[in-house]
C-alpha cells in the first residue's frame, strides 16, 4: 500500500509530483518488473565497497534518499490539482499493477535493495528479511509526464543517464511516430521483429530518422557517430522539438511521393541481372538493390536525399513543397528506365569496387545524385541518367 504525503506541481514540465511512502517489500514487488523499462537510462553498478556499506546500513534501517519514479503511460488522465489524493493513488496503483512505472532516479539503490533481498533469502535469514521488507522508503512519482518532460527532467536532474547522441535523442522524441505512424505510413523499429514490406507505406524508423537528420544537418553522414550531446545541447534539441515534429512528417511524406513516382514511372522495376547483355553494365559484385524500392528505401539513398534537399533549401530556398512538385517531372532518357537503373547499379558497383568505406561513399553518391536531379539550375535537372553520371563523377573525383 502506498501512502501519499504531498502533491506538488512542476509547472515547467506541466506534471504533478506525488511524494509517497512505501514499504521496501511493496517497492521491490514492482521494481523488479520495471527495472528494464527505462530506455533512457543505463544500468551502471555502483562500486562494490559502497554497495556493501549501503547494504549494512539498510539492515540497520537507514533512510535512503527518495527514489524518483514516473508513470510511463503518458496517455492516461492526470489529476485535477494538488489536493487530488484519491485520483493520484488510483493512477499510481494502476500503473504499478500494469508495470507502467519508470525509475527515473534510484536505479542503483534499487539494485542494492534487490541484491540484499537475494542475499537474505539465500541465507534464510527470515528476521532480517522481514525487517527489511517492513522498512519504509520515500518515492516521488511524476504523473502526466510526457516523453519530452521526462527527458527534460532527467537531463536537468542529471539522474544517472549516460550522454545522449543527437540520434538517440531524436529517436526518443519521434518515437510516437513509430507507434502511431504518419498518414497511414507505418514506421517500424529495429527491435520489432516485423518484416518491412517492400512498398511505400512501410519504412524502417531508423532509416527515416537518418534521412531526416541529414536533411536538418545538410550532411549525408550518419549523425549518430559524430555527435554526442552534453546536457545543455540536449536541452536545446528538445526546445526545438515542436518545430521539427511537423518537419519530420513533411520530410517523410515528400520521400514517399518520390518513391511513388519512381514506382509508377519505372513500372515497379526489378533488376534482372541475367538479362543484361551489354558487357559494360555487368556487375562485379552483388547489386546495390534488387528493385526500385529495394534501392530507394536504403539508408544511403535517404541520407543522400536528405543532405541534398537540405542543401537546396539553404542554397536555392527550395521548400519540401517545391521538391514535391518537381518529383512527377523526373525523366529517364528516351523513357528507358531499365537502362537508366542498370547504369546506376553499375556505377554503384564501381563505387563499391574502389571504396575504402562503401556505405559512406554510397551516401555521398546519392547526395550528388539528388543535388543534380532536383536543382533547377543544374545541367542534370530532372534527368535521371545525367544525375547518375554527375554523382558518379563527383564520387570518383572526390573519393578515389
Amino acid at each position: 500500500m502506498i501512502a501519499i504525503k504531498s502533491i506538488l506541481k512542476d509547472e515547467r514540465i506541466n506534471a504533478y509530483n506525488v511524494l509517497i511512502e512505501i514499504s521496501i517489500s511493496e517497492y521491490l514487488k514492482f521494481a523488479r518488473n520495471v527495472i528494464d523499462n527505462n530506455e533512457f537510462q543505463r544500468k551502471k553498478v555502483i562500486k562494490s565497497k559502497i554497495k556493501e556499506i549501503l547494504k549494512d546500513d539498510l539492515l540497520r534501517n537507514c533512510l535512503i534518499p527518495s527514489i524518483v519514479l514516473a508513470v510511463s503511460n503518458e496517455n492516461i488522465k492526470t489529476i485535477k490539482d494538488e489536493d487530488d489524493t484519491q485520483s493520484s493513488e488510483e493512477i499510481i496503483n494502476n500503473a504499478i499493477r500494469s508495470n507502467e512505472i519508470l525509475i527515473i532516479d534510484g536505479l542503483q539503490r534499487t539494485y542494492v535493495l534487490l541484491s540484499l533481498e537475494e542475499e537474505l533469502l539465500k541465507k534464510g535469514d527470515e528476521d532480517a528479511l522481514q525487517k527489511l521488507y517492513k522498512h519504509k522508503i520515500r518515492a516521488e512519482v511524476y504523473l502526466g509526464l510526457n516523453r519530452i518532460g521526462l527527458l527534460y527532467r532527467m537531463i536537468t536532474l542529471n539522474t544517472g543517464q549516460t550522454t545522449m547522441s543527437t540520434r538517440h535523442l531524436m529517436e526518443i522524441l519521434y518515437l510516437d511516430y513509430a507507434r502511431i505512424g504518419v498518414n497511414g505510413i507505418k514506421l517500424i523499429k529495429d527491435k520489432e521483429e516485423t518484416q518491412i514490406s517492400l512498398n511505400t507505406d512501410e519504412f524502417n524508423f531508423k532509416t527515416i530518422l537518418d534521412g531526416f537528420n541529414s536533411y536538418l544537418e545538410k550532411n549525408e553522414g550518419l549523425i549518430e557517430r559524430t555527435e554526442i550531446l552534453d546536457n545543455i545541447k540536449s536541452l536545446d534539441v528538445i526546445k526545438d522539438e515542436e518545430i521539427n515534429k511537423d518537419l519530420f512528417k513533411d520530410f517523410l511524406l515528400t520521400y514517399k511521393v518520390m518513391l511513388d513516382q519512381l514506382v509508377l514511372k519505372t513500372n515497379s522495376w526489378k533488376n534482372n541481372t541475367d538479362d543484361i547483355e551489354e558487357q559494360a553494365l555487368k556487375l562485379n559484385t552483388n547489386a546495390f538493390g534488387k528493385s526500385i524500392l529495394d534501392i530507394f528505401k536504403k539508408s544511403q539513398v535517404l541520407t543522400g536525399f536528405g543532405a541534398a534537399i537540405g542543401h537546396l533549401k539553404e542554397a536555392k530556398n527550395l521548400s519540401l513543397t517545391d521538391i514535391e512538385k518537381m518529383l512527377p517531372l523526373i525523366t529517364a532518357e528516351n523513357d528507358d528506365w531499365n537502362t537508366a537503373l542498370c547504369h546506376l547499379l553499375k556505377q554503384l558497383d564501381l563505387v563499391k569496387e574502389k571504396s575504402k568505406k562503401i556505405g559512406n561513399d554510397q551516401r555521398y553518391f546519392f547526395k550528388f545524385f539528388f543535388r543534380g536531379l532536383l536543382n533547377p539550375d543544374s545541367d542534370q535537372y530532372l534527368n535521371f541518367n545525367k544525375s547518375s553520371d554527375f554523382a558518379f563523377n563527383r564520387t570518383r573525383e572526390d573519393k578515389f
Binding site: R42, S165, H168, R225, T285, K352, K356
Partner: protein, 396 residues
C-alpha cells in the same frame, strides 16, 4: 575483450567480454560486463551463417593499408608451407564484417571471420585501438577500432607447420604490399605513399579467385636476418611513426649495416673457407682487405645478395642524384659522370655525406624546404629498398 570508459566524472573502465553467441540465420555475439549490469554490447556477423569447423584457433593482428578497399579479402600464403598452397589466413576490413552486403564470404572464408570475431571479443588482452565512452547509442565496431582497421586472421594450425612461426618475420614483404602493422598502444602517423607500393598492391588484385578473394604469397627472410630483433622492431614500432628526416634515414640504414655484416661472414665462408688451400697468401690478404671495405660489401649487397627491382633501383638512384644536384654538390656537377654512377655509388655517398658533411646542404641560397622533400622521397624509396633487401636476401 572490449573496454568501455565510464561517463565523466567517473573514470572507471568496464571490461566487456564475450558472454554468449546466438546462432540463428546470422551469428550474434553478446558481450557483458561484471561491473555494468543490464548493458549488453551486441555485434552481428552480417552474413548468412555457415558451418564452423571445430578444432581450430586463430591469432588476429591489426594492420592498415591505404590501398585496401572495404570489400577486399586477401588470402595470405607463405612459401615455407607446401600444404594447402601455403595458405595461412585472410585479411579483412574489420568493419566490413559487421555491415551488410560488403564482403563475399564463402563457406571456407566464413569460419575465419567467425573465429576472428570470437578471438577479438574473448581475448584477455584487448586489441581495441580507440577509447570508447558509453553513451545511449548501441556501439559500433568503429567505436572501438580505427575505421580503416584491417585484421589478419591466421589459422594457428596451418601456420604452425613453420617452426616458431611469427608474423613479425613477414612484416617486410607485407610492407612492400602496403600492409603496416599497428597496435592499440599507438596508431600510425605516416604511410609510405610511393607508387611502387601501390603497384605491388594492385598487382595482387590483377588476378582474383573465383570467389573474388585475392592471393598474396610471401616468404620469410632467411634465418640469418630472421634472428635480428631490430627488423621486427623497425616494422612494428619505428616505420609507422614520424621522425626527423636524417634520423629516419639512419634508422633505415641499420638494415644495410645488418646486411653487410652478414655479407662479411658469408663471403669469408664461401670465398675463403671453401677455397683456403687454393688461395695464395697474397690473394687471401687482398680478398680480406677488400671485403673489409664497407663500399665493397655494399656493392656486393646491391649486386649479388639483394638486388633491388629495376624500377626501384632507377628511382632511388635518380632521387639521390637529384638531391646532390639540388644541394650543388661538386661531385655531381658533371652530367657524364653522373650518368655512370651506380646505385651503390650514390647511396653510399649519400649516407657518408649525411653523416660527415650534413652542414653543406644548408649552404645559403639552397631551398631548404625542397631539400627536405627530396630527402623524404629518398627515405620513402629507402624504406622500400630495405624491405626488398629483407625479403629477397639470398645467401647463394
Amino acid at each position: 575483450m572490449l573496454l568501455v570508459k565510464d561517463t565523466l566524472p567517473s573514470t572507471d573502465v568496464h571490461h566487456f567480454k564475450l558472454s554468449s553467441i546466438f546462432i540463428d540465420d546470422k551469428i550474434s555475439f553478446e558481450l557483458t560486463s561484471e561491473t555494468y549490469a543490464g548493458v549488453n554490447i551486441n555485434f552481428t556477423l552480417e552474413y548468412p551463417k555457415a558451418k564452423i569447423p571445430t578444432g581450430y584457433s586463430v591469432s588476429v593482428h591489426l594492420f592498415k593499408n591505404n590501398h585496401f578497399s572495404q570489400k577486399d579479402i586477401i588470402d595470405l600464403r607463405v612459401k615455407e608451407i607446401s600444404n594447402n598452397s601455403g595458405k595461412i589466413g585472410y585479411f579483412f576490413r574489420l568493419d566490413a564484417l559487421f555491415e551488410k552486403d560488403i564482403l563475399q564470404l564463402n563457406p571456407h572464408i566464413y569460419p575465419y571471420a567467425y573465429y576472428a570475431i570470437e578471438h577479438l571479443f574473448l581475448s584477455e588482452i584487448s586489441l581495441q585501438t580507440k577509447a570508447y565512452e558509453l553513451n545511449s547509442n548501441p556501439p559500433l565496431i568503429n567505436d572501438f577500432f580505427d575505421e580503416d582497421t584491417i585484421i589478419l586472421v591466421i589459422c594457428n594450425e596451418y601456420a604452425n607447420v613453420v617452426n616458431d612461426f611469427t608474423i613479425s618475420n613477414y612484416l617486410a614483404p607485407l610492407f612492400l604490399n602496403g600492409f603496416v602493422k599497428f597496435e592499440n598502444t599507438k596508431g600510425i602517423d605516416v604511410f609510405n605513399e610511393n607508387d611502387l607500393i601501390k603497384n605491388n598492391f594492385d598487382g595482387i588484385k590483377n588476378i582474383s579467385r573465383p570467389d573474388g578473394a585475392y592471393v598474396l604469397k610471401i616468404t620469410s627472410p632467411i634465418e640469418l636476418l630472421a634472428k635480428e630483433t631490430f627488423i621486427p622492431y623497425l616494422y612494428q614500432y619505428l616505420l609507422q611513426y614520424k621522425s626527423d628526416t636524417i634520423t629516419r634515414f639512419i634508422t633505415l640504414y641499420q638494415i644495410i649495416e645488418i646486411s653487410i655484416s652478414k655479407i662479411f661472414h658469408l663471403k669469408v665462408q664461401t670465398k675463403v673457407c671453401a677455397n683456403l688451400n687454393s688461395l695464395t697468401s697474397f690473394q687471401l690478404k687482398e680478398f680480406l682487405g677488400d671485403i673489409q671495405k664497407e663500399k665493397s660489401r655494399i656493392v656486393a649487397l646491391f649486386n649479388d645478395f639483394a638486388r633491388p627491382s629495376v624500377p626501384l633501383e632507377n628511382q632511388l638512384k635518380d632521387a639521390i642524384k637529384d638531391f646532390f644536384i639540388h644541394v650543388i654538390d661538386p661531385d655531381y656537377s658533371d652530367p657524364v659522370k653522373n650518368a655512370q654512377y651506380t646505385l651503390a655509388d650514390v647511396f653510399y655517398d649519400y649516407r657518408n655525406k649525411l653523416v660527415h658533411n650534413y652542414r653543406l646542404i644548408h649552404t645559403p641560397g639552397i631551398d631548404n624546404q625542397l631539400t627536405q622533400s627530396k630527402m623524404e622521397l629518398i627515405n620513402d624509396l629507402t624504406e622500400i629498398f630495405i624491405s626488398q633487401i629483407i625479403s629477397n636476401f639470398k645467401t647463394t
